[in-house]
Amino acid sequence: MLFNSINYFIFLPLVFVLNYSIPGKYRWILILSSSVIFYMIGGISTIAIPIIIILTTFICGILIDKSAKAGRRKLYFLAGLFVNLGILIFFKYINFIITTTFEISGLINSFVSSKQGDSQQPLILQMLIPLGISYITFQAIGYLIELKRGNQRAEKNLGIFAAYLLFFPKLLSGPIERAHHFIPQLRGKNEFNYEMTVEGFKRILWGLFLKLVIANHLAIYTDAVFNNYEYHSGVTLLAASVFFVFQLYADFSGYTEIAIGSALILGYRLIENFNRPLTANSITDFWRRWHISLSNWLRDYIFLPISYSLVRELMKKAVKQKISEYVSYITGIIITMTICGIWHGASWNFVIFGLFFGIIMTIEFLTRKVRRKMRKSIPSLIDNIIGISFTFICFTFSMIFFRSETLKDAFHIINSIFKNDGAFFRGVPSTLLFCLFGISILLLKDFTDEYMPSRFLFFKNKRKYVRVLSYSLTIIIILLIGAFDGRQFIYFKF
């Protein structure tokens, strides 16, 4: 069920009314049943997979919690990890692994024997990928890690645990919630809260605006260009790459706003996923502001464990502390960002996407002292402009790999940007106009929120008439120029 569909806006109010009609302590039952219905509407045929994940993680969690011996805890943890990772790898990456192995073996064969390669094709498994598989497994793995570390007690109620993993507003594209943050909310009384409900409505409205008015219009242009990239000039491909940055931001943050808003009106707070990423002045800063729940997950469960264990190992071998820190940071960040890339999709262009960020963040780490010194000699405004522009250029470049179907396509587009001169593709004039309008709104919103947080308030204005008029005009603008073409949210496919 799409968040921007009429079906969802029938479903959500129904759950909202039911939610506050039943006693607080039983509301998790409604949350669980509505989440299961939500899942089944989108993918009934794969419902068995989240059930397996829930049961395995739940049982392993209890066993970890009950075991006093470290060895046993580790064993149960590994069992849970194996099932979760196994499911994720099988459904999301198996075809990528098969084709890559096939290509490598073909390459080796062509070196070993002079025979021309035969026309055999790798076996591609045709299967449905369970909805929200990456998000569900990441939450389950995070839960198991926290239990193993002893930071959390196991949840004893299977229903509440299932409701945590399946909670419908975050089911398809996150945020990747932490159990210690969300499960206590499911156990709480969950009384009707006026402020939370109003905030929820506001965020849903803003999310719809981002998706329908900004992202979908930008998608019309970027799809027209990227789907026929062979026919477009360098300047057009460059413009489409820049537009795609804004499209992805509006699309994903629009989804997140609707998700967080939906949770709020039901009385639950999800963690924030964006913090004005367009104002980031370095790539490291960018990943603290973009898809925050994923960045934090990767930091806590991949980067820090790798870095700490490497530092420990290197120190044991009497390597100097400074060198140990450098090696562990660089190794940790390269591995983490590559995993971040692969998490987004099973293809080489996502590997390059992640690796690219790993390399940039390494450069930023290595040059941090020099840059700090330089910063002292230039005005902070200029420094910020340089930092923000650099970050934006890097992110735009990475988007070429993100948007392309294959690595070959990505390189073709990069090559065309530099070499293929020709006319700029305008498309339908209205589309370009709406694209520029959307981009201006996104930039204005991020920069005013960052640098002038108390000015230009519309939804949060002290005067009621300004607020009411702002909501009404937002709805009117959505009706007037929103693109209601039922376009999917980009992050659904991850």
Partner: protein, 326 residues
Amino acid sequence: MTAGNLYILNFRELIIRKLVLNIILIISIVFVLDFAIGHILRHYYFRESRGYHYRTTYSMEKTNAEILIFGSSRANHHYISGLLEDSLKMTAYNTGREMSGIFYQTAILKSVLKRYTPKLIVLDFAGEEGKAEQYDYLSSLLPYYKTHEEIRNIIELKSQFERIKLVSEIYPFNSEIRTIIYGNLENKEPINAEDKNNKGYIALYGEVKAKIADVDNSTSLKVDTNKFNSFREFIQLAKSSGAIVIVSYSPIFQKYNRLQDLEICKGICSSENITFWDFSKDTTFINKIDLFYDIGHLNHNGAILFSNIVATKIKHEIFKKDKDAI
């Protein structure tokens, strides 16, 4: 029940009432704004004197041309109405519109047939006639939902909630504000000179610029049977009106390999005894850079050549046969 509980209950009722009242207030403002803006947009939409809105309105409500051309952008850029008029000594209008599929064309035909019967109807086969996922283009018919009952069932194919969406007065004009302003800019002249002279036809100037990559369109499509049904409905409606009907597959830069939908449409024409002309493999056009604007569209020179061929073919093969029959 204690006084404390009663207080909590009253407080809860109060805040729920506050929430409901605020929602009602916002809905009322939206309703008023929607009504006012929607009516202004409707007024100016139907006052347009040029552009594709105007041409759709003209096709549905005003034209009484003897020859009508139907189709998508390929029809619109390939058939020069004036040239057909001069050659066949009959009035002609090109109702083709960019990115419009068979549903749009059937809707236009239904509205036309409600008013009069043309003598000759030419439907341009666009290729990929059965391709799925093109229902969003039905948005171009939304402004006519209220006033044209005959096309409502076609518009409702767009989505199951289309009738609910159409409660909004603004929605039919969604994303059309720039075009409405543009269409009203020269409203001193009742009909824009460009549109009047071209009679629906829009010329494309220039030649294929970019290097054309090999296009493999031999793979099979996900077929939408609704579209083939609509194609059949178009043919049957046109035929039963008493008009002469021709389905023509106008030239394309490269050979069209996707036989699936071509064969189905040809089969429908054959079963309905309708002439099908296939120019897609005509060597006069294939790979001729100077005759094409892009891979799917003839430029003005190409359109002149093609329209002359069509006019001659109509004169000699259709009208002559018709006369002989009489």
